[in-house]
Structures are given as structure tokens and as C-alpha cells.
Symmetry: C2
Subunit: 691 residues, 2 copies
């Protein structure tokens, strides 16, 4: 008992420490030199555009959240779920708002730092990302711990009461999906629109101040790549915590006097993760002697080793279970292996990217064919790895049903690095922005070279994050399905410990049809998001063309474009188009649950997650490979910049943009949102469903 009391103190404490660190990092960044008045002016445009977008986004989300909260309260008859729902949505938005505001301060300060010391620039950019990384982990942990205490969850009532936490997960998932979709559509529409007119039609460089969409493009880096990804990781963090706690209730008996730890275990593991992230972020320091990526790797290594050691203490020393330690370690290992595979498929020095670049010599169609093909191929090895780890953890844990707990532990192992990974991901858009500000402010070649080195490091960390994100999303969503199963068993009296008692036979046509629907959803959902980018980008293109046509002297650099109009067009369209995909993804599981029943819904959920994860991986890797094939040519191969091959590669890169930065990341959220909706509404399906 004393151990578990310790745990309930350790978790919120660690969350508060992390939060304090967020404040310190924010303060440290604000203190850095923001550069010349011109730089500050550009930065203020970005900051205003990004904040205006987030505010309008939150205003769009708010009524959905309130209406749904009301509906939840009425339908479920429990204030806790409605309250948790609002809190999940609000915490998610706060984490994203704070994180992004650090990013839009760090960008110009990174540019300024690069003028004197590239090493310093790295430190500024990475700590800027650190605010998002740490903020997410902290608010996740604190939010759930607060509810845990507020709802008075005890070892006695845990099997029923833990379900009350799902509201938080639902709220976080919903606002994350909005944020990822809105931000994702924004960033890629602005990016594609700016490039199509700027680079392709007019022939001016990226981030050229004459391009009317350039500020929208830089804003996009922040609201999409930074805020969107933050929301994504906030969501998978909450879902993971809540789902593993629900699964933990089944295993309370198994761990005897430590039983309560089966439920608290996820909180403890995440609390360790928060401390590991702090250590890792502080370990990343730029140096004249190291390349930026080497510096980032030190941070990753510090967090990794710290996690492994803590896993040993938690699993072997405290919970007296080697299988838990091995599962946690396996999860950590899977994250690393998947990241390496992704690096092969998207790395600029690897065969796939080189083959895509080579194919570009015969035009856009062959470039796209090659990238498309490698993207499809790239799903094979990661899914094999995750499959192998899943089975290994399951059998190490002792097969059904004990192995499920081990599987949960493996998922916690994967997600342990979330803080530092998110920091190194948010570092990417900050470096991007810093380069853009340098370009717009007309700073010297030296500064831009420093920026390029940061950018290259950013590309590698982005690739790592995406592989990592996929592994997290798929494993998390498998565990959330088990949590769903646990809840379904409670409502129907099915004995979970006997696998054969679970009435979900694969060959039941009802389940086959449910799987067909589940497998189709990610296709339709991706279609809607990609089209949204295409349509919005088209509007941006028209506006930039119009400005070049109608503003005299713009192309010669004698007049200034109207940046704000592009920002406004992108904002309006992104917000408009994020609604339908979100509604589709809420309504579908509800219809399946009410018509095909709670067991077929399980089949549906499994199909959604497998197909969603595969499609997302394909999109990430194809998009990343096209991007780097273009860079490979720009580095001087196959005719370099301006050649036919380069033009073809730009087409592939442009097409890949909404895949890798809008549809792909949104799919990660989609697959977990489906589960969390199912868990939340399960009691309604049982009572009012057809079957």
C-alpha cells in the first residue's frame, strides 16, 4: 500500500516538475535576442497569423465540444464523462497553444543566434521544440491525475470508476483531430500554393518576400507541423494512459499486494518519461565540434538509457516481473527499429530516394510511379516488426490473458520517448521558419548555411518521428481496443480470461462486413483531407497569381504583396474543410455500434487501425521520399536545379505534401479516435443498439 501511495504522489509531482520546466524553457527562449527590427517585423507577421489561426480554430471547435459534452451528459447520465471531455479538449488546446507560442518565438531567435553561432542556434531551436514536447507530457499526466483524484478512484471501485476517465481521452482526441486536420490543411495548402506559383510559374526561390503566400507558408509550419503534431501526440498520450489503466483493472488480482500498481503502472511509467524528457532536452546542446544531428542523438540516447534503467527498476525491482521489463524494453526496441526502416525508405543517401530521383529524368509520371511504389513497399518491414514485437510481448507475458498486460507494457515502452521525440520534431518547423526569416530578411550566405545544416538535421528527426508516430499509433490503438474489450466484457458478463468465450468469430459474416467498413473508412477519410488541401491550394494559387498580375512592381521587388489576404484565405478554407472529415469519423463508429452491435464494432475497430496505420505509413514514406528525391537533385544530381528532372521531382514533392503532412498524421488520430468513441459510448450501444 505504501508503494502505491508513493506512486500517486510521484505521478503528479513529476508532472508539476515538467510543467515548471516548461515555464523555465519558455522564459529562457523569450530572453534570447530576437534580432533586427526587420526580422522582428517578419516574425510578428508569423506570430500573429499563427495565433489568429489557432484562436479561430478554437472558436470553431468550442461549439462542437460544448454540444457533445451536453449530449454526453444527457445520454450517459454521468457528469464526470462530460467534465472529463471538456477538460481533455481544453488541456489539449492549452498544450498546443503554449507549445506553438514557444515555437513562434524560437524561430526568429534561432535566426539571430545563427548569425553569431550555429551551435547556439541549435540549442535555441531545440529548446523551442522542448516546450511543446514537455508541455504535452506534463499536461497529459496532470490532467489524468487530477481527474483520477477528483473522481475518487480507489482500489475498490477501480474496475468501474476508471471508465470515467475516457471522457478526457474523447475530448483530447476530438480537439486533436480538429487541430491536426485544420493545421494540416492550412500548412500544405499554403505550401503547395506558394510553390506552384512561386517556384514553378514565376521562378523565384522558396520563401521569397515577393510571394504573397510566403507568410501563410511560414505560419503553416507552425500551425500544421508544430501544433498539429503536438495535438496528435497529446491525444495518443492520453489514450494510451487511459487504455492501459482500464486494461490494468483486469490484472489487479494477479499482482497480489502490488495489485493496485497494475492500474497505476501507466501513470508511473509516464512520470518516468517526463523526467527522462527533461534530461534529454537539457542534454541537447549545440557545439562547434558536433553536427546538429549528433547533438540531437545525444539527447535521444540520454532519454533512452534513462528509460531502460527505470524500466528495470519499475519492472524487476518494484513489480517483481521480468516479463514487464522485457515488454517495456521490446517496445523501446520496436520504436528504434521502425525508425531505422523509415530512414532507409526516406533517407537521401539510400537507394529508394536515388531511384526516384533517377526516374525523374523521364518526367513527372515516372517520378510519381517510383515514389508511389516505394511508399507502398515501405509498409512491409515496419508492420513485420510491430507484429513480431506484439507476439513476443504477448507470449513472454504468458499468452491469453496475461500476455495482454505485457502487450500494454510494450506500448508504454514505445511511448516512453514521446517528450524528447516531440521536441526533436517541433525543432524541424522552427529551423524551417528560421531559414525562411533569414531568406526574407536578406541575411548573408553564412547564416543560410547554418540554417541549412539545421534543416538537414530537422529532416532526419522528422523522418524518425514519423516512423515512431506510426509505431505509437498502431500499438496504442491495439491496446485501446483491448480496453474496449474489457469494458464490453463488463457490460455483458463475458469472462475475459477465457479467450474462447469472447463472441467475436472472424468468419461471422457480420464481422467480415464490419471489417470491410472499417477498412474502407481510412480511404474515404484520406480522400476528404487530400481534396481539402487541393481545393484550398487552388484558391491560394489564384490569389498569388492575382497579386502578381494586379500589384504593379511586385515581381521587380518594388511593391509589397498583401500577405494577410493569403493568410485569411487559407485560414477560412482550412477551418471549413476540417469539419466534414471529423464528422464522418465520429458518425461511422456510432452507426456501426448501434446497427452491427458491440462485438462487430470490435472487428470494425481492428480493421480501421490496421488499414489506417498502413495507409499512413505509405503516405509518410512516399511523401518523405519524394521530398528527398527533389533535394537529392537540387544537390546537383541528374542536372540539378532547373533541369527537367528537377521539375518532375517538384511535382512528386508537391503531390506528396498533403499525403505526408495532412492525411497521414490525421489518420494516426483517426484510428485512436474511433476506439475512444467506441469505449465512451459502449453503454449506449449495449442499451439501445439493434443487436
Amino acid at each position: 500500500m505504501s508503494l502505491s501511495t508513493l506512486a500517486t504522489i510521484f505521478a503528479p509531482l513529476s508532472g508539476l516538475v515538467a510543467l515548471a520546466f516548461v515555464a523555465i524553457l519558455f522564459w529562457w527562449i523569450s530572453r534570447q535576442d530576437p534580432g533586427s527590427p526587420q526580422m522582428r517585423e517578419i516574425a510578428s507577421y508569423i506570430q500573429e497569423g499563427a495565433n489568429a489561426f489557432l484562436r479561430r480554430e478554437f472558436m470553431t471547435i468550442a461549439p462542437f465540444v460544448l454540444v457533445l459534452a451536453g449530449l454526453l451528459w444527457v445520454a450517459m447520465g454521468k457528469w464526470q464523462i462530460a467534465f472529463g471531455f471538456v477538460m481533455g479538449a481544453v488541456f489539449s488546446m492549452v498544450a498546443v497553444y503554449v507549445g506553438m507560442n514557444a515555437a513562434v518565438r524560437a524561430n526568429v531567435r534561432t535566426t539571430q543566434a545563427a548569425r553569431s553561432s550555429p551551435a547556439k542556434a541549435l540549442t535555441v531551436a531545440f529548446r523551442g521544440g522542448g516546450v511543446m514536447g514537455l508541455g504535452i507530457v506534463a499536461l497529459n499526466l496532470l490532467g489524468i491525475t487530477i481527474l483520477f483524484i477528483l473522481f475518487g478512484i480507489t482500489p475498490e471501485n477501480a474496475p468501474e470508476a476508471v471508465h470515467l476517465l475516457v471522457g478526457f481521452g474523447f475530448g483530447a482526441s476530438l480537439s486533436s483531430l480538429f487541430a491536426q486536420l485544420g493545421g494540416g490543411i492550412y500548412t500544405k495548402a499554403a505550401d503547395v500554393g506558394a510553390d506552384l506559383v512561386g517556384k514553378v510559374e514565376v521562378g523565384i526561390p522558396e520563401d521569397d518576400p515577393r510571394n504573397a503566400a510566403v507568410i501563410a507558408d511560414l505560419v503553416g509550419d507552425n500551425v500544421g507541423d508544430c501544433a498539429g503534431r503536438g495535438a496528435d501526440l497529446f491525444e495518443s498520450g492520453s489514450d494510451n494512459l487511459i487504455a492501459t489503466m482500464i486494461v490494468g483493472t483486469v490484472f489487479m488480482a494477479q499482482y497480489g499486494s502490488y495489485g493496485w500498481l497494475a492500474v497505476l503502472f501507466p501513470l508511473i511509467s509516464r512520470a518516468i518519461g517526463a523526467l527522462g524528457a527533461i534530461l534529454g532536452i537539457m542534454a541537447v546542446k549545440g557545439s562547434e565540434k558536433r553536427s546538429p544531428i549528433a547533438a540531437v542523438n545525444i539527447g535521444l540516447a540520454v532519454t533512452g538509457v534513462f528509460s531502460l534503467v527505470s524500466f528495470w527498476v519499475l519492472g524487476v525491482v518494484i513489480m517483481k516481473s521480468y516479463s514487464i521489463f522485457w515488454s517495456l524494453a521490446l517496445g523501446l526496441g520496436a520504436a528504434i527499429v521502425v525508425s531505422l526502416i523509415i530512414q532507409y525508405y526516406t533517407g537521401i543517401k539510400q537507394r529508394p530516394v536515388n531511384e526516384i530521383a533517377k526516374a525523374s529524368r523521364s518526367g513527372s509520371a515516372l517520378n510519381i510511379m517510383a515514389g508511389f511504389s516505394y511508399g507502398l513497399e515501405s509498409v512491409g518491414l515496419p508492420i513485420l516488426t510491430i507484429g513480431a514485437v506484439t507476439l513476443a510481448a504477448y507470449y513472454i507475458g504468458g499468452g491469453w490473458i496475461h500476455g495482454v498486460f505485457a502487450l500494454t507494457a510494450a506500448t508504454l515502452g514505445i511511448t516512453e520517448m514521446k517528450g524528447i521525440i516531440m521536441a526533436s520534431d517541433a525543432f524541424g518547423p522552427i529551423a524551417d521558419n528560421a531559414g525562411g526569416i533569414a531568406e526574407m530578411a536578406g541575411l548573408g550566405a553564412e547564416v543560410r548555411r547554418a540554417g541549412d545544416a539545421l534543416d538537414a538535421a530537422g529532416n532526419i528527426t522528422k523522418a524518425i518521428t514519423k516512423g515512431y508516430g506510426m509505431a505509437c499509433a498502431l500499438m496504442t490503438s491495439v491496446v485501446v481496443t483491448f480496453a474496449y474489450l474489457v469494458e464490453a466484457a463488463k457490460h455483458t458478463g463475458v469472462n475475459l480470461t477465457n479467450l474462447q468465450d469472447i463472441p467475436i468469430i472472424i468468419t461471422d459474416p457480420l464481422n467480415i462486413v464490419a471489417m470491410m467498413l472499417g477498412a474502407a473508412l481510412p480511404f474515404v477519410f484520406s480522400a476528404l483531407t487530400i481534396r481539402a488541401v487541393g481545393v484550398t491550394a487552388y484558391q491560394v494559387v489564384e490569389e498569388v497569381r492575382r497579386q502578381f498580375r494586379e500589384i504593379p512592381g511586385l515581381l521587380e521587388g518594388k511593391a509589397k504583396p498583401e500577405y494577410a489576404r493569403c493568410v485569411d484565405i487559407t485560414t477560412r478554407n482550412a477551418l471549413r474543410h476540417m469539419v466534414v472529415p471529423t464528422l464522418v469519423s465520429i458518425i461511422t463508429p456510432v452507426i456501426v455500434g448501434f446497427t452491427l452491435g458491440i462485438w462487430a464494432l470490435t472487428a470494425y475497430l481492428i480493421a480501421v487501425k490496421i488499414v489506417g496505420a498502413l495507409l499512413a505509413t505509405f503516405m509518410f514514406n512516399a511523401g518523405g521520399a519524394w521530398d528527398n528525391a527533389k533535394k537529392y537533385i537540387e544537390d546537383g544530381s541528374y542536372g540539378g536545379k532547373g533541369s527537367e528532372a528537377h521539375r518532375a521531382a517538384v511535382t512528386g514533392d508537391t503531390f506528396g505534401d498533403p499525403l505526408k503532412d495532412t492525411a497521414g498524421p490525421s489518420l494516426h488520430i483517426l484510428i485512436k479516435l474511433q476506439d475512444i468513441i467506441a469505449i465512451t459510448l459502449l453503454p449506449l450501444f449495449v442499451t439501445y443498439g439493434l443487436k
Copy 2:
């Protein structure tokens, strides 16, 4: 007993009648006027190229077939399976060879007929396709009936002996996959290669005789679109028959004195289909008063009505079961609805195609984004339709397990139109070829206009076939999985009549991992086939460029290109690249069967088919929509031919080619091959598997 004796006579008799009709059609086509010496010369190039390809393809397949037949004999200890395997492969190749040879005779005769009467041209082209359509149905039916008699299958031994037929299905599937892959890679590599240099770089029209790849392109229409699709439908025909007979054994008791009919029922239904196809093909006659598509529709309507009436007789009058009639009718209805949906997504006058054309104004990237997005979206409604029909048939049949028999009947209902649908599909490449020959022979505008009308009709029938093909493939493969389940139950003593006794729980991590692997296979498989097209097309591009560079006077039309070299390059590469995807698709289910066990293999099979069908539908529809968006612009919208929008649309069309004509159709075969391998090797998995 007398009824079932009648059935065993009716099936082979109908097959023989169909075969006789194939001979008559072939003879009729050969008697038509093959035109001027120049036309005959061009036609002879195509004929030689196509036959040479098929011969080399068969030579490549032969050793695989022999080695596998030997292995099957040794491993399974039953000569019947090895014998059936060889026979299935040989019958498939014969059907394809005869059908394609009719097509390469019909093409030039269609051109010649168009010079005097467009109506006559339609009749020639359609009957040319009829040879393939009817030949497949006839050889399917005869092959399986011969084995049925040879193996001495009786009501007494049926539950065990019907399994012997699976060898035929395996042989047919294997050689079909080779044929579809080889032909599919050939046709699209030649097409893309010819277009990339001809239309895009040099700016000469399609099918221009100065293009060195033009003959290879015309050969490709025959070996890919015609022979490949024929092999596909031959395979789904055999699998469907064999699987429904296996499922039928479970229901022998249910139909009392008609019990044996449960097994013979598929043969009877297919025999009716053969007669319906003959009537339909003969009903298609060109007329000056009707558009070509109206003439084709009459044929489809004749077969449809005949099928419906026969279903009434078979279901209600003979088998005394309304549920069988309704299931057959539902299947027929599903085929029609899915075709209509596909026509919406790919039709030239519909919104998706117009939106894609509109997006082309901003370049290739937005064109591809739009087509990609509509392609993804297009999987939703067809899968909903198939899901609804599956559940309807299942519940009309009485739920588990009787509903499974109704589901089988629905599949037979869908596949009933196979003969006439294949005829109208093969009609497409013949019309294509006829147009190409007219262009190369420099015939007048009048002839080409007639050709264009045929071509437009061909595009519609192709779209219909693809939707139809997807519905067939998915439903068939669901039934084959049930056949697998029947066999698995026999080997393990599981009582099939009680759904809960089947030990395949969806939430078992073993099954989840099996589904992950199954879902990933279609991605990896498509990757290999699309890359094969890209790589081969690149070789063709290089060769055509070389000839324009090195042959003096070629561009001015004073010298002739070396057609044979392009034919040879395409042939060699297509054959080389068809091997790896085939091996991957054979080995994967074998590994899963031996390591994860026969029940997890079921989960794997279901995932393969759902994801495979979705990916194939996406590829078909995206490819078709890009194709028609290009045609829409060529018809004068958004600047017409030669505009920026047109150039962008050509990129989309080129990228879509290998999707819709190589990877998509191959996926249809893949999903059934997986099942048939699983059924064939099931006894080995049971005996030697890990679990």
C-alpha cells in the same frame, strides 16, 4: 436422383455447346475481310508480337508449373491434385491463347469493316471479344466437369473427394497471375514508354508509325488488356465453382432428396451462364440506328433477363428455395449497382472527372491530388453495397450456417454474367487496336470517326467490367474463405454448424498480427508490380529516344523504326519482372500457415481480400478518372489538346495506367490465389505446422 443425373449431363453438354460456339465465332471472324496488304502487314506484326510474347510467357510458366506439380504430388501424396493443377494451368493458357488469337484477328477486320459500315465493325469487334468470353466459361465448366467425372465424385464420397478439385483452381490461379502480371507489365510499359517520348517529347500523335514503341503498344492491348483479363476471369470462374461446391458439401443434408444438388448447383448455375452468354453475344448487333453502347446494352440485358428467369427456375422450381432465388438475384443486383457507382466515379460527364480536369489547370501535382483523392473516396459506396448484399443474403438464408449457402448463391449470381461481361471487355482492346491500325495505315477521317465511337463504347464497357470484376473478386474470395473453413473444420473435427465453436477470435493477438500481415501484402505486391512497369517503361523510353537519335530521317517519316527491338525489350522485362511478385504471393500464405497456424491463416486471408479489393478499386477508379479527365480536356475544355492543363492531365493518365491495368487487376487474382493456396496446402499445415 434423376434430377441430379440430369444436372451432371446438362453441365458438360452446355460446356460443349459453348465450345462449339467458340469455334463458330472464330471461324466467322476469320472469314471477314482483313483489308489492304498494308493493313494486313501491320496486323501481322501485332499478331506475331502477341503470339511470341504468349509463347515465351508459357515457356516461363511451364517449369514453375511442373516443379510445383511435382512438389504437390510428393507433399500431398495425391496424384489427383497434381494432375488437376497441371490441367488448370493448361486450360487457363489454352483459353487465353485462343481468345487472344481471335482478338488479333478481329482487330484488323474491325478496321476494314469500319471502312464500309460502322455497324458491321461493332459486330466484328464484339464477336472477337465473344471468343474470349465464351471460351473461358466453356473451358472452366468442362475442365472441372471432366475432373469431377474422372475422380469419381459421388454423393457418398463428396465431402472428402471434392477437395481433390482444388488442384485445378491452384493451377488456374497461378498461371493467371503470371499472365496478368506479365501482360499487365507489358502493356503499360509499352504504353507509357510510347507516350512519354511520342506524345510528350516529340509531339507526334498516338499510334504514329514513326514511334518505335507503337507496335509494342498495340501488342500490349492484346497480351495485357485482353489475355490478362481473360486469365483473371478464368481464375475467378474456377475458384468460384470449386469453392461453392466445397461449401455445398456442408449443406447436402439440408436439401433432402435434392441434397446432391447443393454440390452440383454451382455447375448448373454456370451451365446456365454459358447459355446466357451465347444468347447475349448473339444479341449484340451493330445497327445504323443505334449507338454502339446501346447495342452492347441489349446484349447485357438479354443475358441478365435470361439469368434472372433461370434463377427462378433453379431456385424456386427445382431447389424449392426462395432464399436461393433471392440470393442469386441479390448478387446480380449488386453487380449492377457497383457498376453504376464506378461509372459515376470514372464517367467523363460526371463531377469527379470534371473536377480532376479543372484541377489540371494548376499543373500535374493538383491533377494527381484530385484523382488520387476521388480514387480513395470511390471505395466507400461499392464496399457498402457489397457489405449490404452480403448481410442480406446471409440473413435471408437464415444466419449461421445456412446463410453461408445463400451467400454462395449470391456469389454465383454475381458471376453469372461473366461470359458476356468478358466479351464486352475484350471488345475494348480490339476497338483500340482497330483504331491504331487505321492510324498507322493512314486511313481517312471517316474510318477514324467510326473507330472513336467504338472506342468511347469500349471505355464505358471497360469501366463496367472493372466494377464488376471487383464485386466478383471480393465476393468470390469471401466464399473461397468459407470453403477453406469447411476444409479446416474437416481436418480438426470442429463443428461448423455452431459458430461459437470456430476457434478464430478476432481479439487474439495471433489473429491481429495475421491480419496485419495480410493487410500489408497487397501494398507490397502492388509496389513490386508498379515498379516493374516504371522500370520497363524507362527502358522503352531509352530505346525510342535512341532510335529517333540514331536512325536518320525517322522523324521526317523517311525511315522506318525498328519495332521489333521495342517488342523484344518489353517482352524480356515483363517476363523477368512477373516472377518476384508471384513468388512473394505464393510464399507468404505458406509461411503464415506453417508458423501462425490454420486458424490465424483465416484471419490473414480475410485481411488480404478486404485490403486487396479496396486497393484495387482505388487503383481502377483513380486510373479511369485520370484517363477520362485527359479525354475531357482533349474534347476541348480548359484549353484542349496542347494546353498546360492537357499536359498536366497526361501526367495523371500516365501515372494511372499501371494502377488501373497492372496492379489493380493483379490484386484481384492475388486475393483469390491466397485462398486457393491455403485450401490446397491445408493438410500440410495441419500436419507439419508449428501450431
